[in-house]
Amino acid sequence: MESTLRLASPRKKKFPLRPARILMYAVLILLALSFIFPYVWLISASFKEPAQIFSPVFSLLPRDANGNIRFVLSNYASAIEYLNLSQVFGNTMIVCVVNTVLNLFLNALAGYAFARIQFKGREIIFKLMIASMMVPGAIMTIPNLIISRTLLIDDTLIVLILPFIMSIYNVFLMRQQFLGLNKEIEEAAIMDGAGHFRIFFTIALPLVSPMLVVLGITTFMWNYNNFMWALVATQSPDVFTLARSLGSLISAGQNNPSMYPQMLAGSVIVSAPLIVIFFALQRFVLQGINIGGVKE
């Protein structure tokens, strides 16, 4: 593929319309369309009347019986009712916010300790943690369920928060960040008599805030989209999250196409917030991959 560098010899001209490049653009555009089209189709279908969703006529824009363009909100109304949106949205927000805040705080705390505080056994414990990253999450499902039931927290919002309150990977990332900080600032603060906690809170933490933002966003999104654990650990509709609630709507639609209208509207409702957040905070999300990317 072409070099990304300005070439040494200036006489080499660029041929922007070489057939290879045209092909490349074509492939990329087609691929991008395959990513955008389903969402467009989803939104369009969610505004159609149920009869039109089931009709054989293929139309991108919602139309009524006479062929005029008409957007319908009834699917959204039924979806909101089915999903019990107000309570479920509240549940999701509680879970996501609490988990994200606790996660950021505790992971940063641990990462800071690993990076900047000397104590015996630090390296061993750290290596142990890294080794444990190997264990895949799904293996933990059953035993975590048993533990949750023993602790009597199953079928509550807590069971959705507690088992994920820390993440070794995030601790690792935070440690990286803290390692990169300037020692002098810290030393100055120690001279002034500040304890480690004050240094952590008032100096170190603000300095790594870009990473905190990125981790905050990814953790929030992960919690928002988590389905399997919610399926396994909760049964009462009182503690359903958006993902879980949507899941039961989809199960209802699996053998019963008449639920499709609600299912589609429900999907839009559930996925829209994160997509909006993504586009608003695009910069942070995309850059975060760079920060946390694989080191050569």
Binding site: I94, D155, L157, I158, F201, Q235, S236, P237, S251, A252
Partner: protein, 404 residues
Amino acid sequence: MSKLFTSRVVFLAFVLLSLVGCQDNQGDDVVSFWAYQPSTQAHQNAFRSLIADFTEETGIKVKLNLVVKDSFNMALNSALSGRSKPDMSYLDQPLIADYASDGTIEDITSMFADFSSVQEDDFFATAFQTNEYDGKLYGLPLNVTASVLFYNKDMVESAPETWDEWLACREDLPQGKSLFDGIGNGGYAGWYFQAFLANCGGSLLNDQQTAVAFNDAHGVEAAQMIRNLYGSDQTSITNRGTSDAFGNGLVAFKLGSSSDIDRFDINFPTLDYDVALVPSKTGATSYSNMGGENIVVYSHSNLKDKCASLIEYLLREDSLDKLSDFTGNFPAIREFATSEDARLNVIIAQMENSVPRPVVPKWIRVNDDYLGPALGDKILSDENPRDIQTSLDDAAAAANQLLF
């Protein structure tokens, strides 16, 4: 430690504790009742107001949890082993044996004896029997249904009454149409199979209930009949793979029950169809498979008398009518199961000769994992149909090992 630190710790602790607290105030005097979720929003709301009326009348608080039928059994199983166990719930007929045998559901023989408004004779006999295990009563039937024959009047003049007549209808089919819609996969296939089995003289278990009998000559005959109805030509395969094939006018016959009547009336208003008794092999008595919901009370519950009140309330005529409306089935109390709709009367007539599934523990696993797949996936597979006798024998061997 710094003040900031401690204040934050206190705050976090408060948040966590309040979350715990939030969930525990469900109250110890609220009856937790799980039921099948009706498929339309309107029915779901009607269910809730039915329960609300009960609370208004008796002051007993009820927490209604409507769960999609397909996920119901698993969700129930999960809840029964966790913290939030229901006090009472709907229960699929075949599960009565399982939960009765390990003491999960309560023996309600005496509870029922105390009911002032209903007695055993009021119910459809076979429906009542599905609640009896080991000589005791473990539940009550709420609604019942049976499968009947749906046929498209544009393609079929009059309903066939024997198997031969049924197969002969294929000759008159218009181009591009096929004879029979699929009987589904997994558990559903096993369920519908019973109708065919009964109609040619077979049964799922042998008379002494010591082994399965669905792989005998009758069983093979029944499976063969379904396969013949299916047809292996491309048109039939195509039509069967289409969602709502019968509603869309692609197939001539289908087995279904009362909920299907509602569905077709609403979603396919132009479809000209009718219902009839399921053809028996020789034109003798028409048998069909029975389905329906039973209601049970759980042994762990502290609110059994409140549950009893709710059950008696649900067995009243107007309650039963509404409940039946939601699932499309019929009230299990014979007197209430009447209708002006001729089609529904066909189903009521069919119910007189419908056979329930065996009341043995683990039958549901046999149905869902051995018998159902043997039919739905092996014998009736479009891509790779397997030998009927062998498939049934394999399923029977597995079933015998599991059950006996």
